[in-house]
Structures are given as C-alpha cells and as structure tokens.
C-alpha cells in the first residue's frame, strides 16, 4: 500500500462553489498556506452534512491558524449549489466546496471508488508547499471529527516549525515516577 506522506499535490483545475458563487480552483490556490482536502462520498447524503457542518463550526479556528478548508466530492459545483439551496446546514458553509466529477483529485489521493464514482472519507493535511503531512481515510459510513482535525493541523504546523525538538505527550494519570536519569554532561 502506497504511503502518501510527503507527496506533492499534482496540478489540477476544478470548478468550485463558495458562498453563493462559482469559482475555479487550481493547485496554485492551495499553495502558500496550510490546506485541508476533505473528501466525502456525495452531496445530498445524511452523514456528510453532519461532518461538513461540524467542519464549518471550526472553520474560523482553522482560518486563525492559517489553514484553508476545501471539501471535495465527485459532484459538480452546480450540485453543491443545489445542495446549499436545499440544506440549512450546507447553506451556512463558508469554506470552498470543490467539484470533482472527473475524479481527478479523488484519484490523485487514492480515495476514489471507481465502480461507485464516489470518494471515501479521506482527509489530507497539506503544508504551504502542497505536500501531504498527515492524512486519514475512512470507509463510507465512518464520520470524522473537526476538532481532532484542528489538533492535527496544529501539531503538523508545530512540527514544521520546531522539528523534533519537543516531546509529544500522552498523559497517563497515575504513571509512576521515572527513575532519575542524571546526565550532567554539558550542564556543568
């Protein structure tokens, strides 16, 4: 199975729906800032508005940390608009909804289910150079958590800035005190 970490976003050009208007989005639009590509199977389905709405709830926080959100499905931008017109949840979405009817993006990221013409629930965090720094792919019915995604983007940004000069912490209450590890070399 291919590992996508570090892979650079390939050139693409798709039509998108954003805040009542249509626009063209290409690779260049995703460069210079952090980006999340958020694939979902199709418009007008039940779980999708739930997690897309969840993502909208955190959209301002993503923007605060310099990260832009792009949802992607294999629908056209016209269908995105129709969905926004029909759904209160989708109507309030402020981030850009990419239309990928030809499967260009979904195929590039390995989430296209060809026989169904739908994308798996894949989330890809790209750095400002357009390289994949983290990703997760869920099967169709398994929803995602926008708050956890925000944490991952923040972690990716931190590592990009500081390298490995921090220790990730996973707190285990009640853990035993570690035996002292005295190493005064360089300190005295």
């Amino acid at each position: 199975m291919e590992n996508l970490i570090g892979r650079e976003l390939e050139d693409f050009r798709v039509q998108a729906y954003c805040r009542g208007a249509f626009q063209e989005v290409s690779k260049g639009d995703l460069l210079g800032h952090w980006s999340v590509l958020f694939f979902y199977p199709a418009d007008f389905t039940f779980v999708c508005p739930t997690e897309l709405g969840d993502l909208q709830d955190f959209y301002e926080k993503f923007q605060e940390i310099g990260c832009e959100i792009y949802s992607v499905s294999e629908d056209t931008h016209f269908v995105h608009k129709a969905w926004a017109d029909a759904s209160e949840t989708i109507k309030r979405i402020q981030y850009t909804m990419l239309g990928d009817p030809a499967g260009v993006l979904a195929r590039q990221f390995g989430v296209l289910v060809e026989e169904e013409g739908q994308a798996l629930r894949g989330t890809f965090i790209l750095n400002p150079e357009g390289r994949v720094k983290a990703y997760e792919i869920h099967d169709m019915g398994i929803g995602r958590n926008a708050e956890e995604l925000l944490r991952k983007v923040q972690a990716a940004q931190f590592v990009e800035e500081h390298g490995d000069q921090v220790c990730p912490a996973k707190w285990k209450p009640g853990e035993e005190t570690l035996t002292p590890s005295l190493d005064l070399v360089g300190l005295l």
Binding site: F158, H162, Q165, C167, A169, P173, T177, L178, L188
Partner: protein, 220 residues
C-alpha cells in the same frame, strides 16, 4: 512543620551511583540553601517527594530541609496549588524557584543544577544574558510544564529558574504535567516543554535563556 526525621532518608528513586554523582556536584556548593516543601502526607507523590528530598539533603551540609503540611505552607510565599510543591530559599528569602511533582527522570538534572546555580559557583552565563534579565521590569509567573521522560525539558526549566534567581520579579516553577490533569486540560498540553507565562502566553519547545528573557520582556 513536619518532623523530617520521621521521613525515610533512603529513597528508592536515588540509587548509589546517582547519589555519588549528586554528592560530587553538591561538594562544590559554597553557600547554604533551604529547601521548603509542602506535602500532603496522605498522598503517594508527596510521600515520595518527602523521602526524595530527605535523601538528597543528606548529601550536603549546605542544604537544609523543611517540610510543611498544606495548611502550614500557605505563608511560604510560593505557589502551592499543585502538590507536592518544593521551593528553594536563599538568605531567608524565597528565590522564586519551585518544583511541582517529583523531579525524577530527566528532571533530576534541573533540580540538581538549580541548587548548584543557587548555592554553588553556578553555570556560566554571558554578561549579555545577565544584562537582558536586568531589564525585566514586570512581575511574571512562569510555569514550565514537562514530562519526566522529556530530554528537552530540563534545559528550559534550568533557564527559566536561572532567570528567576537573577530577577526578583520572576517566579519559575517546574510542573510535571502528568500529575496535574487540570493544567493539561486548561492549556491543552500535547507536547513539552511548554512555557506558560502568567497563565496566559504559551510557548512550546526548547529556547535559550536569552529567548526566554525576551518572551518575558514581551509579555503583557
């Protein structure tokens, strides 16, 4: 005050080799320091810390130990909201240097070096760094959140506490975040070292003493 003599001076955390090394460092101390610790003798970590300190202070005549119950520790002038809390006192005054939790793992280094910097010759420090610390004009309370396995953490603890020793306006405490879920929750601690200034500004990762001083100068 708790009678220190009732506390074991044979902490299992300090093996013979470690005691010998610390004894060597403490042999360079040329002034007296008093360690005052607030411990809740009903709690395991406090008992562990009491024995750790009792064992450590046996390694130098320049170090005295005083143990207090939480109710008696309120007047010491140090932060005691997270126990066990241990402060370093010099010439009868609180230095602003504290440790919250048991400084095991990598943090033994910051604890030993903290005492060495306070009551011994101390680590070399550039004139420029001292001058910069002298520019601090606003009070600041610094929490350095660590995990005991973090090899980047002691350096930040040592640097912040050095600033506290040189500036009467600054207090700097090491906090073993593993012991204090309220801090983990409040400051969303996912990585260490994490420097928190005045419970407001949060900075992660290792930094030099000059950079840490600058953060304090910039703090509102």
């Amino acid at each position: 005050m708790i009678d220190c003599m009732q506390i074991s001076a044979d902490s299992p955390l300090l093996d013979e080799k470690t005691r010998e090394t610390i004894h060597g460092v403490f042999g360079k101390l040329n002034q007296d320091v008093v360690i005052k610790a607030v411990v809740d003798m009903k709690e395991e970590k406090s008992l562990e810390m009491a024995s750790f300190l009792r064992t450590l202070t046996e390694l130098s005549d320049h170090i005295a130990l005083e143990l207090y119950e939480p109710l008696d520790g309120a007047d010491l002038g140090m932060e005691i909201s997270h126990l066990p809390a241990t402060g370093l006192f010099f010439n009868g005054e609180y230095t602003g240097v504290s440790f919250h939790g048991v400084p095991g793992g990598k943090e033994i280094n910051s604890f030993v070096i903290g005492i060495y910097n306070l009551a011994g010759p101390g680590q070399e420090l550039s004139k420029a760094a001292v001058k910069k610390i002298g520019k601090l004009k606003r009070p600041a309370k610094v929490k350095v959140c660590v995990s005991l396995a973090c090899h980047h953490c002691p350096g930040v603890v040592i640097a912040c506490q050095r600033i506290a020793m040189l500036s009467p306006l600054v207090e700097a405490g090491m906090y073993d975040a593993n012991l204090y879920p309220d801090l983990v929750e409040k400051f969303k601690i996912e990585r260490v070292p994490l420097v928190i200034i005045n419970d407001k500004d949060v900075f992660a990762g290792p930094r030099s003493i000059e950079d840490l001083t600058q953060l304090l100068l910039d703090a509102k």
